[in-house]
């Protein structure tokens, strides 16, 4: 008479996998939204130095990148081993930086320009000479907000 009859024998119902696609889709959308494709192909070595006093770069769209470092192995025959500057997808000369800075500024709307930042992504092995040259060019182009791209961690010379 009891309402709760014990099932005797028989297999329990199989776990329904009908919701599996939903779960997977959810994950998929998460990654699709958060993913950032690399915009440029790096042609030079770029290992960041480490620092502890870092600030996050907000507003990716307002950041322009300047890469400095020795060319990768495959480009060494053509460009040598001395550190070079890369803007967008190609190696650039120092004189190109002003043009680049101005072009990047033109792209942004008037109201956003004061918030623009130039991120200097220099390889940790380079000397300050080339970095200073880049800084001077940026100053000439009146691009004054910069950011030295670093990794988080204790600086190597302190270890």
């Amino acid at each position: 008479m009891s309402k709760f009859k014990k099932k005797t024998g028989g297999k329990g119902p199989g776990i329904s996998t009908a919701s599996l696609p939903d779960i997977v889709f959810m994950l998929l959308f998460f990654f699709m939204v958060t993913t950032v494709m690399r915009e440029v192909e790096l042609k030079l070595e770029n290992k960041k130095p480490r620092a502890t006093e870092v600030k996050k770069l907000e507003k990716r769209s307002l950041v322009s990148y300047i890469y400095i470092g020795p060319p990768k192995q495959m480009y060494q025959a053509q460009f040598g081993r001395e550190p070079r500057v890369q803007l967008n997808d190609q190696f650039a000369r120092l004189d190109d930086i002003q043009q680049f800075a101005i072009a990047e500024k033109e792209e942004k709307s008037e109201s956003e320009r004061p918030l623009m930042q130039f991120s200097i992504k220099a390889d940790r092995g380079v000397k300050m000479g080339i970095v200073s040259d880049v800084k001077l060019e940026l100053r000439k182009a009146n691009a004054l907000k910069i950011n030295y791209s670093t990794e988080k961690g204790t600086p190597r010379p302190l270890e």
Binding site: T17, L20, P21, V24, F25, L27, L28, F31, M32, T34, T35, V36, M37, R38, P49, R50, A51, T52, E53, V54, K55, K56, L57, R60, V63, Q117, S119, I120, A122, D123, R124, G125, V126, K127, M128, G129, V131, S132, K135, L136, L138, R139, K140, N142, A143, L144, K145, I146, N147, Y148, S149, T150, K152, P155, R156, P157, L158
Partner: protein
């Protein structure tokens, strides 16, 4: 009349397709947030106007040479001592008109935090890594001073303050790092 049932589309492979896409995005995604040390460059001046006069005691001269050795006010110094030195210098309060300073009021160091200048000069041969490390230590010195003050006033660290409060604290310990053109050898 016979009703034909339309055949149902088998959705069993949908999960597989979704998985495939998921794995693609998992692999290509880079989660690292870009971060770094923020700085403001001085505007370019073609005439090279002479800098405003600053009393010698208000300048902390930091030189980094091509061998990555540090010279602070003409004394050799280890990188690990630089932070404390910069803190002592900024917080010195020789003049005595800075009521929140806790410095030693040494007569060879800055008059008050408002007047001090840390002059950083490097060589063209200085390694970038060392330069960043020095910048990092100097920034850390300011951060520690600001943290100390903001804990006293607001009970929280500087980076947890609201924008308004943070501005107030930043005003008490302004970041005055002036960079000279590197020496050419």
């Amino acid at each position: 009349m016979a009703r034909r049932e339309s055949p149902e589309i088998n959705a069993g492979s949908m999960a597989d397709i979704a998985f495939l896409l998921l794995i693609f995005f998992l692999v290509t995604t880079t989660m690292d947030v870009d971060s770094g040390i923020a700085r403001k460059l001085p505007p370019y001046d073609e005439q090279k106007a002479p800098p405003p006069p600053v009393k010698k005691q208000n300048i902390l001269q930091v030189l980094v040479n091509a061998n990555d050795e540090i010279l602070v006010n003409e004394d050799y110094m280890e990188l690990r001592d630089l932070r404390q030195k910069a803190m002592d210098f900024v917080d010195n309060n020789y003049k005595g008109d800075c009521d929140y300073c806790q410095g030693s009021r040494d007569k060879t160091m800055s008059e008050n935090p408002e007047k001090h200048v840390i002059s950083l000069q490097n060589d063209r041969g200085t390694s970038y890594e060392m330069y960043i490390a020095v910048q990092n230590e100097l920034t850390a010195a300011y951060r520690e001073l600001r943290n100390r003050e903001s804990r006293l006033r607001f009970g929280r660290n500087y980076d947890l303050l609201s924008d308004e409060d943070a501005k107030e604290i930043a005003k008490l310990y302004p970041l005055n790092i002036s960079e000279a053109e590197p020496l050419k050898l």
